[in-house]
């Protein structure tokens, strides 16, 4: 009944209008696992770091109930590093530096204890590596969620298209949905992308919320209007983590439960952007999470009775 998360565990160096960090801990799988840990107790992580990665960070994950047995530590090698600078609108950013390091030769090994996972989150990585994880699972999980990005559409489209046939939920942003489908209208884009394989599509629109589509229904979740977005890094991964963590805990993959999961995911994303890196989502209380979800309910709830 466990949740398996694969993705990067990394160092980030981030510059925003609010400040600048040295190397801090980041990575898709880090944000996903941390966000999921508020809902799901048994989380298994598969990733790779170098021996420059701090033990304290691994212990921090462990303290949140995240099993790091599948986190390979490569002696004499360096952890994946990304550095970026956000523009004033916080919606666009420049990548200043990318050092693949251990990612260049990453071979995702699935520990035996991780087999029979029911929920699989394939965080952003090369589609070939994401496919390898699927191939190495003895049983097909109940739900496979895939996150990807425009970079892979540019350099590995055939592999990505093949992978789309094997997953259940795809999460991408609005520009990526337009690129993948060739349609500007997100409604038309969604129809085309669902025809490529996924049963559900989540289109993330950043500060403008998120849309969930299946072939018949559409659901919209807003983003919380915030006074300041301090650091958007990891918001999409925190969203995905809250989403799959809630689904894995409730074991219900109906459209109605996915709506709830998206609200919990949106709540985790709204926390994530309040501080640099994972700082905010490392140590939330249950009360804080509940209060935040209540804010989402208050934000969109209205009462119209049609005759």
């Amino acid at each position: 009944m466990s949740l398996l998360v694969i993705g990067t565990v990394a160092f980030d160096a981030i510059e925003t209008p609010f400040g600048k960090t040295d190397k801090i801990v980041g990575g898709a799988a880090t944000f996903i696992s941390l966000a999921a840990s508020y809902f799901k107790k048994e989380i298994n992580l598969v990733s790779v770091v170098g021996d420059d990665f701090p033990k304290e960070a691994i212990e921090m994950l462990g303290a949140r109930g995240i099993n790091t047995q599948g986190l390979q530590i490569k002696a004499g090698e360096k952890t994946f590093f990304w550095s970026g600078k956000y523009h004033n609108d916080m919606n666009t950013r420049d990548t200043l530096d990318t050092q693949l390091n251990v990612l260049e030769t990453f071979d995702p090994v699935i520990p035996d204890a991780y087999q029979n996972c029911e929920f699989l989150m394939l965080g952003n990585l090369a589609p070939a590596i994401q496919q390898t994880v699927l191939n190495r699972l003895k049983n097909r999980p109940k739900l496979v969620v895939l996150d990807t990005m425009n970079f892979w559409m540019n350099v590995a489209l055939p592999e990505l298209l093949a992978l789309l046939k094997n997953i259940d939920v795809l999460t991408i942003n609005d520009e990526e949905a337009r690129q993948l489908s060739g349609e500007y209208s997100l409604v038309k884009a969604a129809q085309k992308i669902l025809a490529m394989g996924p049963k559900f599509l989540i289109i993330k629109k950043g500060e403008h919320g998120a849309l969930l589509f299946n072939d018949k229904q559409v659901f919209f979740a807003p983003a919380l209007p915030l006074e300041d977005v301090f650091d958007p890094t990891g918001a999409g991964d925190s969203f995905a983590g809250g989403f799959i963590g809630y689904l894995a805990e409730t074991q219900d993959i109906s459209f109605d439960n996915m709506k709830r999961a998206i609200i919990f995911g949106s709540a985790m994303a709204s926390f994530s952007v309040e501080k640099f890196g994972t700082e905010r989502i490392q140590a939330l209380s249950e009360e804080e999470v509940d209060e935040r979800v209540q804010q989402f309910i208050d934000l969109v709830q209205f009462d119209i009775s049609l005759i």
Copy 2:
């Protein structure tokens, strides 16, 4: 108990990626009145046209229950004309031509039969003209809603700021909220703008929905994800018309009822963009409006019970 609407009645010529029109009937007050007419039966219009304006269009307004006694028809003069071209994303447009014509000397006369209106919609016009309408009403309406735009912030800011102290609800778009407040964050922008006078602020975000603020609460209404946005002209005015029409009919200006009004306004905006000009909102059935509102309910409704 009537609703008074002031604004332009105009000719538009529109070019979108879907096609091009000759001169068609448009104008803020036209869209506002038509949209409001689906909710409120007694609507009084104040505006001005030249004698080139077609009688059929005035009759069409009358057929929707809109009183055109306050529509001045200037002999030997021409109706206000605007021409614009939308870019491929439909969110930005170029103005190709603006001919003020009768608007240059517009002096809004309020017929006696229009006095004692309880709801006043000040559609986009020079702030000085909007203020004149307020001055000429013997009694202050129960609710005054003001729409304006960036153009007036550029050329008539002192008049606009003075007017803001005399109204209840301001509707502007996100870029205008940022310009008026000097704040990028819409939450901060809203706080600053509410301090300028309005008790309620609606920030329209086009395809990204709308936010309603008072000093303590915030509500978010999505836009309906549409396959095609055919012509965005008048969407904001249709929104405002549905909003104030619903409020005027229900006579309830609580925050909770404004939430409902925004959903009805959003529904009218979603119709408006489906065809050129006012075509779609001239002849909707009650069933169509109800079905559309139900789509909004289905779009955002979720059920989370926090313990």
